[in-house]
């Protein structure tokens, strides 16, 4: 089955939000996020001929994108000013949507303290995947996926609390 570049780009653009969420979760600054974004797009393009179409494009994309992020290491020699984890995020408007934005901003910050696998677990959970799907994507047992998810949730809660925020 041959896939054209146009088909690939159209599919990627439809689901690019997934890649953006992964890059924000795995990298803590814009430059590294951009590097990871490009790396994921390129790995997806390289792997595209092996996409048989037996599963949904987004399902296949989750795997390739997450696996790329898990083994992606940021450039060692790059110096970036990172805001401290407990820095207050300024939100001028107090409307409901702004509150949600703020909550997610704190969540992304807290996620920086998780390890590569914990990030993958919580990401798949937030993307509405069941314990079984999480286990299948990570290649672990369902019981282990459940244990890992519970531990990650607890750890995330503690990090958020430690940084003086609660939701």
């Amino acid at each position: 089955m041959r896939y054209t570049q146009e088909e690939f780009l159209s599919q990627i653009n439809e689901h690019k939000g997934i890649i953006h969420k992964i890059t924000k979760m795995y990298m803590d600054n814009a430059l590294d996020q951009e590097d990871l974004f490009q790396e994921i797009v390129m790995q997806l393009w390289k792997a595209y001929p092996s996409f048989k179409g037996t599963s949904k494009f987004s399902t296949w994309m989750y795997r390739v994108a997450l696996n790329t992020a898990i083994v992606f290491f940021k450039k060692d020699n790059r110096k970036v000013d990172k805001p401290p984890l407990n820095e207050q995020i300024e939100i001028a408007d107090t409307s409901d949507s702004q509150e949600k934005e703020e909550k997610l901003a704190y969540l992304y910050k807290a996620m920086q303290e998780l390890n590569q696998i914990e990030k993958a677990v919580i990401f798949l959970f937030l993307e509405n995947q069941s314990h079984r799907e999480i286990a299948q994507n990570l290649g672990i047992t369902e019981v282990n996926a459940r244990v890992k998810l519970n531990r990650t949730k607890e750890k995330l809660q503690q990090i958020i609390k430690k940084n003086g925020y609660e939701f």
Binding site: I12, K16, G17, A47, L107, K153
Partner: protein, 201 residues
């Protein structure tokens, strides 16, 4: 902390992002740890090739006798044979594509063992070349009569030469291990940490 509520907010939030264009598919080369290791190995391949060429000029530079030159050619041919074998293995590693659509554990284990195998191959090549050169030195010293070997044997005892051989082997080993660890080992170490965390019960 209400994770169900958080999940809703997460799914309603669509990050603002730019379009993925055709140019993005050609922008840069891949940089997974495997790709970085391959890139370093490629540079090192040229270094080893230059060393191999330089080794060919040693008989002329040192002024070997005809007898010693013939033995050297034989040893040189053995080194070339080993290097060709290892270079072929490295070339296959360099060209072998990987599949990131496997589950994460399989993918990580593939990365880890592929990197580890090639690192061990790389180290064994260094040991083999080192030992062949050491064996050649021993033959040159003890079996071929020349002014240089006679002078060395007259000045040094066999115990002293044996200790020197042991020290040389240890130095080759330490340098190879240190070089492999500092140059390539960091990727392996990082992947191992992730493998351990996925296998954690």
């Amino acid at each position: 902390m209400n994770f169900d509520k958080l999940k809703d907010d997460w799914n309603k939030n669509e990050p603002v992002s730019t379009e993925v264009s055709e140019n993005m598919l050609k922008l840069k080369e891949a940089s997974t740890p495997i790709d970085q290791l391959r890139k370093k190995m490629k540079y090192e391949f040229f270094g080893q090739l230059i060393s191999l060429i330089l080794l060919a000029f040693i008989p002329k530079l040192i002024g070997f006798t005809d007898e010693l030159k013939n033995i050297y050619i034989l040893f040189y041919a053995i080194i070339c044979g080993f290097m060709a074998y290892y270079f072929f293995k490295f070339y296959r590693f360099y060209k072998h594509s990987y599949d990131l659509s496997l589950d994460s554990r399989k993918n990580l284990l593939w990365f880890y063992y592929e990197m580890r195998l090639n690192l061990e191959l790389y180290k064994s090549l260094t040991y083999i070349v080192g030992f062949i050169l050491l064996a050649f030195s021993a033959i040159a010293l003890f079996t071929i009569k020349s002014d240089l070997s006679s002078k060395i044997l007259a000045k040094m005892s066999i115990t002293y030469i044996a200790i020197n051989a042991v020290v040389t082997i240890v130095i080759i080993g330490v340098i190879t291990e240190l070089w492999a660890t500092s140059y390539y080992g960091k990727y392996l170490k990082r992947i191992k940490i992730i493998v351990d965390s996925i296998d954690e019960e």
